[in-house]
Amino acid sequence: MAAIPEPVETLLAAALVGELTVVDGTGRPVTYPLIPLYDGERVYLTSSTLFSKKLEHIKANPKVALSLTDPIAVGGRTDRATIQGDARVIEEDPHGGWERLLPIWEKKEPSIVFFLKQRVALPLFFERSLIEITPRRVLYWADGDAATAPQSTDVGKEAA
């Protein structure tokens, strides 16, 4: 079993936006653009309670995928990846629990700190849950082209 391949870790660190796909109650994939936050071990995303439908889906079916496909969102890189994994919703404290990831979030979206100071204007936006993804498999397209089979890497629990 291996860890997340280094090029994919770099993509994760650079990506302003990735596409989280969850599976809804009918078995259909539903995709949401979100900011991926990677702490070197697990992948995190945050969701406002305003847009919490995805959390309902995850609680019912934790199998998710996060794709990194947009060259514009990853600083011009053309490689692409999809990380499949098991998601867990962390919602002990929707008011402030998510703020532990604020330093990583701020690196990608500096304006979030300004908006957080205006919390009185956007109270529900800052009531948030964390989505923690434990990676299981990584598909990687070095040339970003679906005409080439992806490199598939199983990511073990010990690595996660």
């Binding site: 302003l16 796909t21 305003l50 847009f51 998710v64 970003g144």
Partner: protein, 469 residues
């Protein structure tokens, strides 16, 4: 709660529209659920034909697509903004069953459903407002899961600020202080009753602010409004689940009782028939602003109610407390420009609310009138405020320094010019609303300054007359 149906999160998107939008993205993300239950996503370049509701693309190598389940194609876009984050957020997804060509090289789907969001079409703040129901659902479910209520929170200071709309107290402070200063100029001043008047009048406005939220919620107006701003659409603490409806009703009652208690105390200390009449009319106008059966604001009479309440009633009430019921024309004339300018705050703030208000049957003037009439109405009322001021000075009813309030004319012109281009853009209108609030505040402060000058000159140079004639 009465009122209209809950707003949908995003405007309906039919399949053809979804595909037309999808075709504008440089690539699409094909997503399907693999045999192991995990979703698989891969970027593809599709040929999209909205007319036939279809999209086709080269089969991705090394991946097996399901043949009996829906797959999706997603387009997603942002524009990075270094040092800020990103903007231009938009995404769209279409779903349909995948059909693989005989040679296995091409995949096509016939879309049956589409969904998406484009912040250029539905601004983020409106999108968030449309999603408030989902947040409520989330907290309700979490409360059931934990067996104890879980609610969104704000710090106490922020909650008080938001719930009471404290910054709007300037609408009360200005006319009350003006009434007190004019009375002082007329030789009547009592510090204790002046302080009690300011506190009592402030409780009146706080009661009105909070009870407005209660009655607007009860009648569905605040729930129907998906474009509130920091100046319009109420405090929304009930809609956001920050304060319960019952607690807001209780808070309004406490504020009304506090205002009533101070009113009774003032009647005991400085009572007069005029003060009693002003108090009774003020209570009826204040409560009847949104409360049934009067509901002035729902009948297009909100501006008049606000003009009377926060113009003559506040100013003359403060004046007669000091003079023990003696009335003169000067405070009446001084209250009129303030009345018009405060009514214009409401008038402009109702513009972004007009669609939601119309849905809830709240027939405000911007709901009833055309855009050109609303803008013309603003100009006419603002002009009226300044004309009354000048005529009042020329007629010798107001002091010459009161003309200082004309310094706010450029601000009123900025509002006038800003209405046309921002009329249909609630968030663009926010800066216009802010300037409009300042027109009232600054004009009021300049009138206060004018009477301070009158009092000082009267004390140090009694022979100097600051009134014409």
């Amino acid at each position: 709660m009465a009122g209209s149906a809950a707003p949908t999160r995003t405007p309906a998107l039919d399949v053809r529209q979804g595909l037309e939008k999808l075709a504008t993205y440089p690539y699409q993300i094909l997503t399907f659920v693999g045999p192991d239950g995990y979703p698989v996503s891969v970027a593809v370049s599709s040929t999209i034909e909205p007319v036939s509701s279809s999209a086709s693309f080269a089969a991705p190598v090394g991946l097996s697509l399901p043949i009996d389940a829906d797959v999706s194609l997603t387009g997603s876009h942002i524009r990075p903004q270094p040092g800020y984050g990103y903007d231009e957020r938009r995404h769209v997804t279409v779903w349909g069953p995948a059909m693989i060509s005989v040679d296995g090289r091409t995949v096509s789907i016939v879309a049956s459903r589409a969904w998406g969001w484009d912040e250029a079409e539905v601004p983020f703040f409106e999108y968030s407002e449309r999603s408030v129901g989902q947040s409520r659902k989330y907290f309700d479910a979490l409360s059931v899961e934990r067996g104890t209520p879980v609610k969104p929170r704000l710090s106490m200071a922020s909650l008080v600020l938001r719930t009471t709309r404290l910054p709007f107290l300037s609408a009360t402070i200005v006319p009350v202080l003006l009434g007190i200063l004019i009375a002082a100029h007329h030789g009547a001043f009592d510090l204790l009753s002046a302080v009690l008047t300011v506190i009592g009048a402030s409780f009146v406005q706080l009661a009105i602010n909070v009870s407005n939220d209660v009655f607007d919620t009860a009648q569905g107006a605040d729930d129907a409004n998906v474009t509130p701003t920091k100046f319009s659409g109420g405090s929304r603490v009930i809609q956001y689940g920050l304060v319960s409806f019952r607690r807001m009703a209780g808070l309004a009652t406490v504020f009304y009782l506090a205002a009533g208690a101070i009113g009774v105390l003032l009647l005991v200390l400085r009572g007069s028939p005029a003060l009693l009449a002003i108090g009774v009319v003020g209570f009826v106008v204040g409560l009847g602003y949104t409360a049934p059966p009067l509901k002035f604001v729902y009948r297009g009479l909100g501006e008049i109610a606000v003009a009377i309440g926060f113009g003559p009633l506040m100013l003359l009430g403060a004046y007669v407390v000091q003079t023990r019921g003696v009335l003169t024309w000067e405070p009446v004339v001084a209250s009129l420009p303030i009345a018009l300018l405060v009514a214009l705050i409401l008038y402009v703030n109702e513009i972004p609310d007009r669609r939601g208000d119309a849905r809830a049957g709240k027939r405000t003037l911007p709901v009833r009138l055309s855009k050109s009439s609303v803008i013309a109405g603003y100009r006419l009322a603002a002009l009226g405020a300044y004309v009354i001021l000048v005529v009042g000075v020329v007629a010798g009813l107001l002091p010459i320094p009161a003309l200082l309030a004309l310094l706010t004319v450029p601000l009123a012109l900025r509002v006038s010019r800003g209405l046309e281009p921002n009329y249909d853009n609630p968030y663009g209108l926010m800066s216009v609303m802010a300037v409009n609030i300042n027109v009232h505040l600054y004009a009021g402060v300049l009138l206060l300054l004018a009477y301070a000058v009158v009092l000082i000159v009267g004390a140090v140079a009694p022979s100097v007359d600051l009134f014409i004639g």
